[in-house]
Amino acid sequence: MTVNILAFGIAKEILGNRMNSMPFITGLSVEGLKGELEQRYPRLQELTSFMIAVNGEYAGAGIVIKPGDEIAIIPPVSGG
């Protein structure tokens, strides 16, 4: 099983694609996911910060990823 991970802005350049996938890990929290992503894509650690959104909402560190969730990497926003 895999989870789909959307990446935007600088994160899209680091991961290489807007749409990415990673093996699903049962019980993985948002904090754990951030760690996994930083391992796979070390350049994420160079960012000022990045957030994770789950199903279109900013997700706290303890939220657990479920199969089918829409995950997004949100680097520092800069709209306006």
Binding site: I74, V77, G79
Partner: protein
């Protein structure tokens, strides 16, 4: 009433103002963001805006909803662009109508300040000798 939207085509200011206008309003405050030709002394060739659209719209709705709870405003509109923009182009329009100007000014300021902090939209500055995602790195 709320109107939030994201466009890949140029924003038109005057329909935005028309939309917030209402007979009970005594004032309209409008913020128009425009693409500046220089950043930190370097000439900007163009800007590229990218959005996580579904979440950006939901965060823009939250901002507009918060404003309706906090200030006595009548209508609030937030429109944002995506795609490639050149100097003088308009990435964002915010318009607020209210019975009195204090609420309109404060709400408009809150809308643009909060949008810049929470709405998942990203801006890449393209210079003559390179490009950079704004705020990405310390």
């Amino acid at each position: 009433m709320i109107d939030v939207a994201i466009f890949s085509t140029p924003l038109n200011i005057s329909p935005c103002i028309d939309w917030v206008m209402s007979p009970e309003s005594g004032g309209i405050d409008v913020f128009i963001g425009t693409v500046r030709n220089v950043t930190k002394g370097k000439k900007v060739v163009q800007l590229e805006f990218e959005a996580y659209e579904m979440m950006a719209l939901s965060e823009m709705k939250k901002i507009a909803g918060d404003i309706l709870m906090r200030w006595p405003v009548h209508k609030i509109l937030i429109h944002h662009r995506t795609g490639v923009l050149n100097t003088g182009d308009i990435p964002v329009v915010i318009a607020v109508s209210a019975a009195h100007r204090d609420a309109a000014f404060e709400a408009c300021r809150y809308a643009i300040d909060t949008l810049k902090q929470t709405v998942p939209i990203w801006k890449k500055e393209v210079f003559e000798d390179g490009e950079v995602w704004v705020a990405a790195h310390p």
